[in-house]
Amino acid sequence: MNFLKSWALLAVATLLPVCAYSQQAELIWNPEVSYSWKSSDRLGFNTKLSIFNSIRDFDNKGAIEYIEPQFTFSYGLSAGTKVGGGYYYRLSTPLIDGYQYEHRFLQQIGFISYINDRRLAHRLRLEQRIRSSSYQNRLRYRLSYDFPLEGEQLDPGEKYLILSDEMMTAFNKDEADAENRATVGMGWYFNSKQKFELGLQYRTQDIFSNGGISHLFLISTSYYLNR
């Protein structure tokens, strides 16, 4: 129960700034459905559908900022090291005339370590974003930690907590910028094939921009299925 209290405190600590910045910050609800499967011990695949909804524009055509189908694969080099790649397609503002698209290619490497069922993951990702009007590279590093809230192992029907922070830099030949994403989330582990996560994310964007830092608060509801 102490963990639950801690999570509640973290959630409040995250939500308080949401209120404080509510006048300037972007507010997003991000539902996601993910499906993963493995063809061997080494080779795994994932497909995901991710939608960005603007809470401020809930009542108009700007509500859907983008819809993004994703596909990634991973190859295990060792028990704790994976490399992989993938492709995302982003359709921006699909309800507004003159929508835009983005093709995104990614390459990544991850290191995962375990202490019982507590997991610490490092992920380094390189992305190429090909937009209808521009091109951008992005280098991202994410540190994630998730752990069961009841006992040392995560059993069906139990909850877990996930914390992560991701730093990234985006650049092309004309400009460069940086962003940070801090996330706290609670997960419901239904069984080995299904789980649900509720996450609260705070993004510090445009860190090097002359226009000043911008803020984004994101509530994610992610449903994970795996075979």
């Binding site: 939608i51 009542d59 509500a63 028990a79 991850g110 375990y114 040392e152 069906p156 509801t221 795996n226």
Partner: protein, 199 residues
């Protein structure tokens, strides 16, 4: 717009509606719950209290595999992490001591390493536990006393060794059980949770 959001809201509700078939497949899995000291069987507590000060921190768990219920106390004592497992009425089943690979006698360590070498092309030790149980079934109540006195003559000793390993066919974490002479008794793959949310 309204219908779009109705679908988005309804989809998770429909998907999360519990379906018996989804959960039925897990009933045979071992499930561990953290419990309070008071929820432990009295007989188990009295054995622990013989050497363990109630004020000192210990973690207690209740395990169930669908057929059998057992209780476990985990505590640090004399520089080691111990897991002490009891059955439903508090009779001691076994004691596990977390050790370093270097603490195994050299000959045994070499025998075990050679056996793992045969199984995998690459491996790394991740967790070693020395497991004490009674040689005779009616001596279960003496296991803890013998472990505390380091009198191992009447105990059956096994080694539960976890490795991250790979060969041509397999990749992952494995649990290998060896007897005190280094003979491999059992091998099983540790099923890890999907990494889809952190990878």
């Amino acid at each position: 717009m309204k219908s779009y959001y109705q679908i988005l809201f309804l989809l998770p509700i429909l998907t999360f509606t519990p379906d018996g078939s989804l959960f039925a497949q897990n009933t045979k899995d071992e499930v561990e719950k953290s419990i309070s000291r008071d929820a432990m069987p009295a007989n188990a507590l009295s054995q622990i209290n013989q050497f363990w000060n109630e004020e000192k921190k210990a973690d207690f768990y209740r395990q169930s595999n669908g057929e059998m219920i057992s209780y476990e106390a985990k505590l640090d004592w004399n520089g080691y992490r111990y897991s002490i497992e009891f059955d439903a009425i508090g009779s001691l089943i076994n004691v596990e001591q977390l050790i370093d690979i270097q603490e195994l006698p050299e000959a045994l360590r070499n025998t075990i390493t050679e056996e793992i070498d045969k199984q995998y092309t690459r491996f790394k030790f991740t967790r070693i536990q020395r497991q004490f149980s009674a040689s005779e079934e009616d001596e279960n109540d003496e296991i803890l006393e013998n472990v505390l006195e380091e009198d191992f003559d009447d105990l059956k000793i096994r080694y539960e060794i976890e490795v991250d390993a790979q060969n041509k066919k397999e990749l992952g974490s494995f649990e290998l059980l060896f007897d005190e002479n280094g003979n491999l008794i059992q091998k099983r793959k540790i099923v890890r949770r999907s990494l889809d949310n952190i990878w």
